[in-house]
C-alpha cells in the first residue's frame, strides 16, 4: 500500500465487501424468481411481461434499501465501533476517508444492479426468441412512456435510474446521519432528513397547486435535488419531454448533490469527542425514571423493562411519524382529487414505517449485540 488513497480504499473494501455480498443476495431473490419462469414455465403464474415488471419494481425498491442500509453503515460504523478516534488521529484530512467511504459504498450499491442488468441483457436473448422479447419490452416501454426499443436500451435505462437513485439516496442518508454515534441513529436521522425533504416539497407543491401554475411547474425542477430525485427526474423528460428543460433538471441535480457532498465531506469525522455512549442504544429517559427504587422482583419484568427502555423510543418515534405523515398525505391526495381511503393509506404507511423500524432494530441487534466488546 503505497499511497493514502490506496490504503483507505483497501480498508473500505475489506469492511464493505460483505455488504456487497448481502446486497447481491438481496437482488438475487427476484432474479431467481424471474429465471424460474424459464426453468418451470408451467408452474409460474405470470407472463414474461409480468415478470419483467416485477423485476424492475424490485430493482426500484432495492434503490431505497441499499441507499438506507449503506448510508447508515457508512456514517455510523466508525463511531459504533469506536474507531473514529483512531481514524481522526491519523495524519490525513478527514474528508479523504469520508470520500473513500462514500465511493466504496456507492460501488457496493451499484455493482449488484450492474450485475443484474448485465445478466439480463446477456442471458435473455438466448432464452427467448427475439420477437417475444421485443414485444414484452415494447409493452413495458409503452406503459412507462420510455423510448427504448429493445432489452439493451431498457436495461441501460433502468440501470441509470438505479445508479442515480442509489447515489442520491446514499448522499442524502450520509449527509443526514453523519457523525451519529451508531448506525441506528445515523439511519434514523438520515431517513428522517430524506422524509422531511419530500414532505417540505409536498407542502410546497400543494401550495403552488392552489396559487400559481408558474410556481407549480417551477417547483418540479426541484425534484432532481430531492433524495432519490435524480432517478425520478430521469423519467420526467421522457414522459413529458416537451414540458421540461432537461439541462436545467441536470444542473439542479448536479448542483444540489454537489452541495450535499460538500456538506458531508466538511462534516465527516469533525466531532470533538466521539460519543462514549456508542455502545449502548439508550435514549436519555432519566427524567422519567420510575419513582419506586425497589429492585425488580421478577426476571421477566426486568427483561421487559430493559427491552422497553431500548426499543420504546424507536417505537414511539415510528408511531409519531405515522400519525404525522398519514393526515398530510391524505390531505395532499384530497387536494389533488386522488381517490384513496384514509384507512388504506394508514395501513400502507404503517406497513412501510414498521418495515423501516424493524429493519433498523434488527440491524442493531445483529450488528451490535453480536459484536465483540458489546457492553
Amino acid at each position: 500500500m503505497n499511497s493514502i488513497w490506496k490504503s483507505l480504499l483497501w480498508k473500505e473494501w475489506r469492511e464493505q465487501r460483505w455488504r456487497l455480498v448481502a446486497l447481491t443476495a438481496l437482488i438475487l431473490l427476484p432474479a431467481g424468481w424471474f429465471f424460474s419462469y424459464f426453468a418451470a414455465p408451467t408452474i409460474m403464474p405470470f407472463t414474461l411481461w409480468d415478470n419483467l415488471s416485477i423485476l424492475a419494481a424490485f430493482a426500484n425498491c432495492y434503490i431505497v434499501l441499499a441507499g438506507c442500509f449503506l448510508g447508515m453503515h457508512l456514517v455510523g460504523g466508525e463511531n459504533a465501533l469506536r474507531t473514529m478516534r483512531f481514524m481522526q488521529a491519523e495524519p490525513t484530512a478527514m474528508w479523504q476517508p469520508g470520500l473513500v467511504k462514500l465511493f466504496v459504498g456507492w460501488f457496493v450499491a451499484v455493482l449488484p444492479l450492474v450485475m443484474l442488468y448485465s445478466v439480463l441483457c446477456t442471458v435473455l436473448p438466448f432464452l427467448i426468441d427475439e420477437n417475444t422479447l421485443d414485444l414484452a419490452i415494447k409493452r413495458l416501454v409503452q406503459q412507462y412512456g420510455y423510448t427504448e426499443k429493445n432489452i439493451y436500451g431498457w436495461s441501460l435505462h433502468n440501470l441509470a435510474i438505479g445508479a442515480f437513485g442509489v447515489t442520491s439516496l446514499l448522499l442524502w442518508m450520509s449527509a443526514g446521519g453523519v457523525n451519529r454515534s451508531d448506525e441506528v441513529r445515523a439511519g434514523a436521522v438520515g431517513f428522517l432528513v430524506c422524509l422531511s425533504a419530500w414532505m417540505v416539497f409536498g407542502f410546497l407543491m400543494v401550495w403552488a397547486d392552489k396559487h400559481s401554475t408558474f410556481w407549480e411547474r417551477g417547483l418540479l425542477y426541484l425534484i432532481p435535488a430531492l433524495p432519490g430525485g435524480p432517478a425520478i427526474s430521469l423519467g420526467m423528460p421522457v414522459v413529458n419531454y416537451k414540458q421540461f428543460i432537461t439541462p436545467l433538471l441536470a444542473i439542479v441535480g448536479i448542483a444540489s448533490h454537489s452541495a450535499i457532498l460538500y456538506w458531508y465531506l466538511r462534516r465527516f469525522g469533525r466531532i470533538a469527542v466521539p460519543p462514549k455512549r456508542a455502545g449502548s442504544f439508550e435514549f436519555n429517559l432519566s427524567r422519567w425514571k420510575h419513582i419506586s427504587s425497589d429492585p425488580m422482583r421478577s426476571q421477566w419484568r426486568a427483561i421487559a423493562w430493559k427491552q422497553l427502555r431500548e426499543t420504546g423510543p424507536l417505537a414511539a418515534l415510528t408511531v409519531a411519524c405515522i400519525l404525522m405523515i398519514t393526515p398530510v398525505v391524505y390531505w395532499i391526495n384530497v387536494s389533488n382529487r386522488m381517490e384513496k381511503s384514509f384507512g388504506e393509506m394508514l395501513g400502507g404507511i404503517t406497513l412501510s414505517a414498521s418495515f423501516f423500524c424493524h429493519s433498523r432494530r434488527g440491524d442493531w441487534c445483529v450488528s451490535r449485540r453480536l459484536r465483540p466488546g458489546y457492553k
Partner: protein, 307 residues
C-alpha cells in the same frame, strides 16, 4: 534557539458550561520524558486532544514542535507518535495488515523498524487485532506510534487497564526504546508510581490547572512531610504553603512545599520536628486531594484521667 517540544500558554477549553482547562500553562523541553499527571477527568485527554489538533482551544496559545496544531493538524500528527487512551483499532485487521495500512500516512514510516518493534514487543503479527489481549493491544499501539520515528511521542494513559506486570514491562519497553534514542516523551497518567521511574519532569494538573511543574528529583526534595506539635503547626501554617495536614497521634503531619526553607526555619526556632520523605504518589495526592483547611490548634482540657 530550539523551540520546546510542547508549549501551552494560558489555554482554556470548555464544553458548554463545563470548564475543563483553565489557563493551563506548561512547557516540555526536547529530549525529556514529561509526566502529565492528573486525576480522572482532570483535563489530561482534552489537553492532549488540543495538542494533536483533534480539538480546538477556546483561548491561549499552543505550539507542538513549533507548529500550531489548530492550523497545522496534519503536519503535527505526521511528526508526533500518538497512543490514545484505550485506543480502539480495526478489529478485523491482522497486526501486520495494520502496519501496512498505516505506512502511507507517514512519509517517514520505517517498515523494517515497525517489524523490529513488533518483534521486540512480542506483537503476534498474524493475529487479528480483535483477538489480541489488552497488553498486546497497547504494545501494538506503541509500535504504530513509534514506527515513523517521531520527534515527539504522546502517550495518553497507555497502561490503563494493564496488570502490574504488564505495566512494568510496558515502562521497560518505553525506557529502552524511547529514552535510549533521546526522544521527547509526553506521558499522561493518573498513576504516579507508573511514571516515577521514567519521568524527568512532572506536571500535576488539577481541575484544569497546572498546580505544579518541576523535575522529578526537585519535586521529591521540595515537598516533604513534617511531623510536629499542633501548636507549632498552627504557628508555621501562616508562613509556609501547606498542601495537606492530618493528625499523627498527638502531633500533626504537614506536607509542605519548599521543604528546605521550612526545615531551616524550624531548626532556627528550635521547634522539635520529624522529617518524612515522600514518594511521588503521596506528593501527587497532597496536591490534588490535600486537606487545605486551617489547622485547628485544640486546647487540651484537663479530664478526670489527668488528675
Amino acid at each position: 534557539m530550539i523551540d520546546p517540544a510542547i508549549e501551552f500558554t494560558d489555554v482554556c477549553k470548555s464544553f458548554r458550561k463545563q470548564e475543563v482547562l483553565r489557563k493551563t500553562t506548561f512547557r516540555v523541553e526536547r529530549g525529556r520524558t514529561f509526566a502529565f499527571l492528573g486525576r480522572n477527568a482532570a483535563g489530561k485527554t482534552t489537553a492532549i486532544s488540543i495538542m494533536m489538533g483533534l480539538l480546538n482551544r477556546d483561548s491561549g496559545t499552543v505550539r507542538v514542535l513549533g507548529l500550531d496544531p489548530a492550523t497545522h493538524p496534519v503536519e503535527v500528527r505526521r511528526r508526533v507518535g500518538y497512543l490514545a487512551e484505550d485506543q480502539t483499532m480495526y478489529g478485523w485487521m491482522r497486526c501486520e495488515e495494520i502496519l501496512r495500512f498505516m505506512a502511507p500516512f507517514y512519509p517517514t514510516w520505517d517498515h523494517q523498524l515497525a517489524l523490529k518493534y513488533a518483534k521486540d514487543f512480542d506483537v503476534p503479527l498474524a493475529t487479528k487485532i480483535k483477538h489480541l489481549s489488552k497488553g498486546q493491544n497497547v504494545r501494538l499501539g506503541l509500535v504504530l506510534a513509534l514506527a515513523h520515528r517521531p520527534e515527539l511521542v504522546i502517550l495518553d494513559d497507555p497502561a490503563l487497564g494493564l496488570d502490574p506486570i504488564m505495566r512494568k514491562q510496558f515502562n521497560r519497553d518505553l525506557i529502552t526504546h524511547l529514552q535510549g534514542e533521546g526522544r521527547t516523551v509526553f506521558y499522561s497518567s493518573h498513576l504516579l508510581y507508573e511514571v516515577e521511574p521514567v519521568a524527568d519532569e512532572i506536571a500535576i494538573l488539577d481541575t484544569g490547572r497546572i498546580v505544579r511543574q518541576a523535575g522529578t528529583e526537585e519535586l521529591r526534595c521540595d515537598v516533604k512531610q513534617v511531623v510536629l506539635s499542633r501548636e507549632a503547626a498552627g504557628m508555621l501554617a501562616g508562613d509556609v504553603r501547606v498542601l495537606d495536614h492530618r493528625p499523627d497521634g498527638a502531633d500533626v503531619a504537614l506536607i509542605v512545599e519548599n521543604a528546605e526553607a521550612v526545615i531551616q526555619k524550624l531548626e532556627q526556632e528550635g521547634i522539635e520536628h520529624r522529617i518524612v520523605d515522600l514518594n511521588l504518589d503521596e506528593i501527587f495526592e497532597a496536591y490534588v486531594a490535600g486537606n487545605r483547611k486551617p489547622i485547628v490548634v485544640a486546647q487540651r482540657v484537663a479530664g478526670p484521667c489527668d488528675a
